[in-house]
């Protein structure tokens, strides 16, 4: 099915716009918790297979196959935890917050089904500390689900019995806790420092037990997959990515917003059809395709589809370079284009100071580096300071090359991907908008003199 045939299909936003969609009664009136009943009649392994068949891929950023991840839980695991990552804080991303506010019961049902499939008895939702309003809404929804007996009560219909407890856990302000192993440390009452992998969480995660961490949007797709079948879900996407995709569009477009769209819709259609075109008179200069940690696309690259594999491999996207003509090597000769990431699409027009924009991104990563690994702790600070001095006309000779060199020194040399999250966009902006950086350098006092 091409993306145009899947127009209008809503899975995770199906209850948006319905009055009191966050209430259990409304959710049930609209068919809520039917998928759970259907799931309990199946064997847990059959559910994992169904999710595998659906080609559902993680919506938090990495796009890893959800069914595959679930199957990594060892059969002999004594205790399994499911953790929902609701620590949304990737700049430009605002989907999970709306999903939590409008349809918390869809998440709870998705988690209940996933928990049954994974044989998890106690699941956690780790919600970002700043989301105080959403935490209240989700907690109220959990309380309703307990009262109605979906949570905290034995379900005798399940093969071998099933009872689930669900706890909402609030973070306290740290972007790094969105990284799954940092999240687990934070949930254990520690500083949010990422752990070395392996062991992967599926083998040894929360409290040293088998743990699966899934994003909010990912889990909210599960009830419909169970109800309508993995084939139905797989068919509407692209060959290797099933379902729809939520994108959050911000920046210089007429109608910014959170949209559930067919997987594979091109950026061009998104900007000019869905979002009504550019907001001002200035033309499109470029966009960030999946949150601030992804290399940007320039205006000539917007025909590519919004889909996990296409953004990593489409030949219409230029390779990210270390310097003109020299592609960045991700290891083993693999080249970097960009990634679909979190679905946070930031559109900017020709009036934008791209160096100032990059400087703001680097300031963010310098602030959020957890301090564990030297290349990231020091390197992100250097990138932030050098970008800033370029942006304000205080650049020094060699600064543009220096930014690239530092980025190469960070990428691949840290425990978690926060290092790449700073290095990749830095190299990406230098590749696509090098002239802007060179112009700032030329205009700098020290260089002009």
């Amino acid at each position: 099915m091409g993306w145009e045939d899947a127009k209008g299909i809503k899975i995770v936003t199906k209850n948006f716009g319905v009055a009191n969609s966050h209430k259990l009664a409304v959710y049930q009136q609209r068919g809520g918790w039917n998928a759970f009943k259907k799931a309990l009649a199946l064997q847990p392994t059959a559910l994992v297979d169904e999710v595998k068949k659906s080609n559902l891929r993680g919506r938090g950023g990495a796009g890893f196959s959800t069914g595959m991840k679930w199957s990594f839980v060892p059969k002999e695991a004594k205790r399994v935890y499911l953790v929902c990552n609701a620590d949304e804080s990737e700049p430009g991303t605002c989907k999970d917050r709306e999903l939590l506010a409008f349809d918390p019961h869809l998440l709870i049902e998705g988690m209940a089904i996933a928990s049954y499939a994974l044989r998890c008895k106690h699941a956690y939702i780790y919600i970002r500390g700043e989301m105080m309003r959403e935490a209240k809404i989700v907690q109220a929804a959990i309380d309703e689900a307990y009262e109605a007996g979906f949570l905290g009560r034995e379900h005798s219909a399940a093969a071998g019995g099933f009872k689930l407890d669900l706890t909402l856990h609030r973070g306290a302000g740290a972007y790094i806790c969105g990284e799954e192993t940092a999240l687990l440390n934070s949930l254990e009452g520690k500083r949010g420092w990422p752990r070395l992998k392996p062991p992967f969480p599926a083998v040894r995660g929360l409290f040293q037990e088998s743990t699966i961490v899934n994003n909010v949007e990912t889990l909210m797709n599960v009830p419909d997959i169970v109800e309508k079948g993995g084939d139905w879900f797989a068919k509407m996407g692209t060959p290797k990515s099933g379902g729809t995709r939520i994108v959050c569009v911000s920046g210089h477009v007429k109608k910014p917003g959170v949209y559930e769209l067919p997987m594979g819709i091109p950026f061009k259609n998104l900007i000019y059809d869905v979002c009504g075109g550019m907001s001002g008179t200035a033309k499109l200069k470029g966009l960030i395709p999946g949150g601030s940690s992804m290399p940007p696309l320039d205006a000539s690259e917007i025909d590519v589809p919004i889909e996990f594999d296409a953004l990593m491999t489409d030949p219409r996207i230029k390779d990210v370079e270390v310097k003109p003509g020299v592609p960045f090597d991700m290891g083993g000769g693999r080249k970097l284009k960009t990634m679909a990431g979190s679905g946070g699409i930031v559109v900017f027009d020709e009036s934008t100071d791209v160096v100032a924009l990059t400087a703001r991104i680097m300031k963010f990563y310098a602030h959020e580096s957890c301090g564990q690994c030297t290349p990231c702790r020091e390197g992100t600070g250097w990138l932030a300071r050098i970008c800033k001095r370029l942006a304000i006309g205080e650049g020094r000779p060699g600064d543009v090359d220096l930014l690239a060199n530092i980025s190469v020194g960070i990428a691949g040399n840290t425990i978690c991907p926060l290092g790449e999250a700073a290095a990749w966009p830095m190299l990406g902006f230098l590749t696509k908008f090098r002239a802007d950086f060179e112009a700032k350098l030329k205009a700098s006092k020290a260089v002009a003199a």
């Binding site: 949304e88 804080s89 990737e90 700049p91 430009g92 991303t93 605002c94 999970d96 917050r97 970002r128 500390g129 700043e130 989301m131 105080m132 309003r133 209240k136 407890d165 706890t167 856990h169 609030r170 973070g171 306290a172 302000g173 740290a174 972007y175 934070s186 949930l187 254990e188 009452g189 520690k190 500083r191 949010g192 409290f207 959050c248 569009v249 911000s250 920046g251 210089h252 910014p256 917003g257 959170v258 960030i288 601030s292 946070g344 930031v346 900017f348 934008t352 100032a356 924009l357 703001r360 991104i361 963010f364 602030h367 959020e368 957890c370």
Partner: protein
């Protein structure tokens, strides 16, 4: 004088402890309870949390100082969190923060003399489609303009004065 939790806070903590397999895992939620109770987390509060959860005070200190939402010093009644990250930057978020600084006569990171406001320059608050934006507690203020900010500040100031009167 050593701090103690109120009866309600103690009950809340007892409930929290049933949700985790060990006491340490309840540290973040208990710190939220403590901050709600005492307004901020001075050494006495830190010691109380450490005693309650049977953790070394050094561990609690390490955790408090890692997360931006825990405050060691007294802060204002209203935590005004203004986003200046990219989506807001493109739509004038920096000007909104500057406007707040001017109106409140403090810099980001500071608290007003009357204790009504603490102004915080925040990273992305996940309302990018409605940039520029800020939050205060559970309230979101979206698609901001300086004029809208004026009305919001005035309203929050009135509510602060009202609460103070009720307390007195």
């Amino acid at each position: 004088m050593a701090l103690e939790f109120s009866v309600q806070a103690k009950q809340q903590i007892d409930r929290l402890l049933t949700r985790y397999p060990n006491k340490q895992a309840a540290l973040l939620p208990v710190l939220h309870v403590a901050q709600d109770e005492f307004g901020h987390l001075p050494d006495e509060a830190l010691d109380l949390v450490a005693r309650t959860l049977e953790l070394p005070p050094s561990h609690v200190y390490g955790v408090i100082t890692f997360y931006t939402m825990f405050h060691r010093a007294r802060t204002g009644t209203n935590h005004l969190m203004v986003c200046t990250n990219i989506s807001c930057q493109l739509k004038g978020g920096d000007a909104i923060l500057e406007h707040c600084e001017k109106k409140l006569n403090i810099k980001a990171g500071e608290t007003t003399a009357d204790g009504a406001f603490t102004l915080i320059e925040e990273e992305c608050l996940a309302a990018c489609a409605n940039a520029p934006m800020m939050i205060c507690g559970t309230d979101y203020f979206l698609d901001l303009t300086p004029a809208k900010v004026d009305v919001i500040l005035e309203d929050l100031r009135k509510k602060h004065a009202e609460r103070k009167r009720q307390k007195a």
